[in-house]
């Protein structure tokens, strides 16, 4: 599953990730629709909020045992191990708001579009892991590394371990000899 690291301390609130997200999904739309008509930017699937210095980035963490899926009364949520994401089948969604109520990251919204023609009207939507891109665009566009995404659930831990060990390694030569023969 995707491992999504959000570090709001690093975030300077530029909201580029949010833009990149909309963009990512727009390109997908036009891929099918052809390039002639330039579609309006779709809603982003993550949200950056800046209020009196406090920054929030609301994005799905693609939990291994997602509470949203448990809460869904319509069985619209599916954990896709292959792509490593939690995804919504909007055809099944009935817009009951249960998932919104359960997600501790505030990462799910319900579509309330201005134009009532919108097919996803009052259906839940959330991060889809950019599975059509080689890597999630929000992370690739983030200039400060406030959003980092690894495509396996231990990615983060493994990377942390190695980074730290690499630092440690520098200090190791000191007194190493002592342990060589000691048991």
């Amino acid at each position: 599953m995707l491992s999504i690291k959000v570090d709001t301390v690093k975030c300077d609130g530029c909201s580029l990730c949010q833009l990149a997200c909309s963009f990512a999904h727009m390109v997908l739309n036009t891929k099918t629709g052809g390039q002639q008509k330039f579609p309006e930017l779709p809603d982003p699937l993550l949200w950056v909020k800046v209020c009196e210095g406090e920054i929030q980035i609301d994005i799905c963490r693609h939990c291994e045992n997602p509470p949203c899926a448990d809460a869904c009364v319509a069985g619209a949520f599916k954990v896709d191990m292959e792509r490593g994401i939690v995804e919504i089948d909007q055809q099944k969604c009935v817009g009951c708001w249960s998932c919104v109520m359960e997600c501790p990251f505030g990462a799910i919204r319900i579509c309330s579009h201005s134009d009532k023609e919108c097919t996803l009207q009052s259906r839940a939507f959330k991060c889809d892991g950019c599975s059509m891109w080689d890597k999630p665009l929000c992370a690739s566009f983030c200039p400060t590394g406030a959003v980092q995404i690894a495509r396996n659930n231990n990615g983060a831990a493994a990377i942390q371990r190695r980074q730290r060990a690499t630092l440690l390694q520098k200090g190791l030569s000191l007194g190493a000899a002592r342990y060589v023969t000691e048991r």
Binding site: A158, R162, A176, A177, V180, T181, R183
Partner: protein
């Protein structure tokens, strides 16, 4: 099948296909796994007339049955194929962490078929198998390969088995290097891998090993561990590594020096494990997967000509082959040469041996300085040794001749030089003087892969430790046979050891645990097999299976046309006493050898004249189809 067995993964490089094959219960119980299953696959797939370096040869990687468990020092892997050095059976056993990772990916064995058009490497990610382009890596040394593969896969924790330039250039004693510094060295498996255009095999396994009777198994493991760690030999082995015994070997006058012209030198200390520690070359003790001993080394050179070299090892065999064998008694050039062998991917024993031979030829005038591209390959010239290692790996100049192995090189140069080529079956003799260690001599002679100790390590015959003497008593009925100069009872000793060694390899234990130290007894191994697989077998069954494996290996060679005349020793061992001990004991004469061979064959139930196993023997070992096939070829022994 019990989960611990793991499936056999077949990969055909020619058409990018791969398929799974489960191990049958019968094969598991008869051959135990690892090396046993390996030789079975080889027997089934490689028929006579196959060119070792041709696409029909196959390369089998077999993780020990217990690899991946906490069983002490059980993480070893066996590589099996047709040897480019001997043209006969080859199994070469290696440590490192690769085998366990393969188990975690759900496989016990990996079989490589045919050859790829262009350089490739294999990526096994649990059950996903992918053949990826390796053109950019071709020519890189093992260390660089390891780094670039890990970089490309974006995971530093994958396990990699790779070949270096030597393997690519089909050096006949090229090694497959596991986890960078662990070599499946002898017999040229690396060349076979090179001939298949296969640069590396990267594995990542996220699974685990599930035991049939966990609590029972774990208790036995902890017991075995205790027993092993209480052995008298462990302390020294983990403290000073394999080379810790070098001084003792010298004192026992079995330390091959100056290409086996001498078996003892005044001061071998610079090559000893003790020296590595005291002089501060040793930076770390290193262990293979799950090993509680940790005899592997990590050494660096900080000052002098060879400053900046760092490598796993050097091990005893490397220190002798590249050191005393070449008359080099300084540590640093040996560490350097050892590093080069490691990163170019070459067997240190054979590399050392061919260089020793070249040195002797040069000293005795059979080779001129020009022949050697201007290298002053005199005894003790460490610099020259290091240079020559490079030339061999890259097949530059005379290195190209030596890269063919000492036997072919001697044939090429002609004259008396074949007498100085210390090899049998085409494999360079490993580093113990078999002139004054008779069980070793017998073991070397009958070893299906040629003159070396890693088929049957009969260390016990020296009676160095109480455990060793006890074992000799157990085998022969009397401690007095714990003496390397006796020829009596050698057959018994060798046969017990080769059975035990086979079981050890099949389960993935390190030979040290059962035939150099004796903590992991056949009884314990049988118990572990039973609780791990859920199929109960007795100690006797286990040893029997070991003998079955040994016999099957023999049969494989027989089918290729081998017979008694191949079970021999190097000319020098049999005819030329070492200069420092001119007494009669200092050779293992043809007569002595023949005596021991007769005993050995009859003990096995093999035909004395041809050394071919008899039908009864094969039937007794339930190798009926093998018997059938050999019978059809008229290669079955007379009763």
């Amino acid at each position: 099948m019990p989960q611990i067995t793991g499936d056999i993964l077949h990969v055909d490089l020619s058409n990018n296909t791969s398929w799974r094959q489960p191990v049958t219960k019968n094969d598991l119980l008869q051959l135990l796994g690892g090396r046993g299953i390996g030789v079975r696959i080889l027997w089934d797939l490689v028929k006579p007339g196959v060119d070792p370096l041709g696409p029909e040869n196959i390369l089998i990687f077999g993780a020990g049955l217990l690899s991946g468990t906490a069983a002490p020092s059980s993480g070893r892997t066996t590589v099996t194929c047709l040897s480019p050095a001997t043209g006969l059976y080859l199994k070469t056993n290696v440590g490192g962490h690769w085998g366990a990772e393969l188990k975690y990916a759900g496989f016990g064995h990996l079989v490589i078929h045919d050859r790829a058009e262009k350089p490739v490497y294999l990526w096994i990610d649990d059950n996903k198998v992918e053949i990826r382009d390796a053109s950019r890596m071709w020519g890189l040394d093992v260390r660089e390969t390891d780094i670039s593969v890990k970089k490309e896969l974006g995971d530093e924790d994958v396990q990699i088995a790779a070949i270096g330039p030597a393997g690519e250039k089909l050096v006949r004693f090229a090694a497959v290097m596991f986890s960078v510094y662990h070599a499946a060295g002898r017999g040229g498996a690396g060349a076979v891998m090179g001939s298949k255009n296969l640069k590396a095999i990267a594995v990542r396994g996220s699974g685990g090993v599930i035991i049939a009777k966990p609590t029972q198994f774990h208790e036995t493991v902890l017991h075995a561990r205790e027993k092993l760690l209480s052995e008298s030999g462990v302390e020294g082995l983990s403290r000073y590594g394999t080379a810790g015994s070098l001084n003792a070997v010298n004192e026992m006058r079995v330390l091959p020096s100056y290409n086996f012209q001498r078996s003892c030198v005044d001061d071998a200390h610079p090559l000893s494990g003790q020296c590595l520690v005291e002089a501060g070359y040793l930076k770390r003790r290193v262990a293979c997967f799950g090993c509680v001993i940790g005899c592997h080394r990590y050494s660096t050179v900080e000052k002098g000509v060879f400053a900046g070299s760092y490598t796993g090892g050097p091990e005893y065999e490397s220190l002798v082959a590249l050191g005393s064998g070449c008359g080099v008694f300084e540590t640093e050039p040996v560490i350097k040469a050892n590093e080069l062998c490691n990163i170019y991917g070459m067997d240190t024993i054979s590399t050392g041996s061919v260089i020793q031979w070249a040195m002797e030829c040069y000293e005795k005038g059979a080779l001129s300085r020009q022949d050697l591209d201007g290298l002053g390959l005199r005894w003790g010239n460490g610099q020259a040794v290091v240079e020559m290692v490079k030339k061999i790996a890259l097949r530059e100049g005379f290195g190209n001749t030596l890269a063919e192995g000492v036997k072919r090189a001697a044939e090429h140069i002609g004259g008396d030089t074949h007498k100085w080529a210390v090899e049998a079956k085409g494999l360079e003799h490993s580093c113990v003087d078999t002139r004054s260690a008779k069980a070793y001599a017998l073991a070397f002679a009958v070893n299906p892969r040629g003159a070396d100790h890693l088929h049957t390590e009969t260390l016990a015959e020296f009676g160095l430790s109480p455990e060793a003497r006890a074992l000799i008593k157990k085998i022969t009925g009397d401690e007095k046979y714990a003496s390397p100069y006796l020829t009596e009872k050698r057959a018994e000793i060798v046969r017990w050891h080769e059975d035990c060694y086979a079981v050890t390899d099949c389960l993935g234990f390190c030979a040290f645990t059962s035939t150099a130290l004796y903590g992991v007894t056949p009884q314990i191994m049988a118990a572990l097999f039973s609780s791990a697989t859920g199929y109960d077998i007795s100690e006797e069954n286990a040893m029997n299976a070991g003998r079955r494996v040994v016999t099957l290996e023999k049969c494989f060679n027989v089918r290729l046309g081998a017979s008694r005349k191949d079970d021999t020793l190097p000319w020098r061992i049999m005819n030329e006493p070492s200069s420092d001990r001119p007494d009669s004991k200092a050779v293992t004469s043809e007569k002595e050898l023949n005596g021991m061979l007769d005993e050995y064959y009859s003990l096995h139930g093999w035909d004395k004249n041809t050394s071919w196993p008899t039908k009864t023997t094969l039937i007794r070992l339930e190798l009926n189809n093998v018997a059938k096939e050999l019978e059809d070829m008229n290669k079955i022994g007379e009763e």
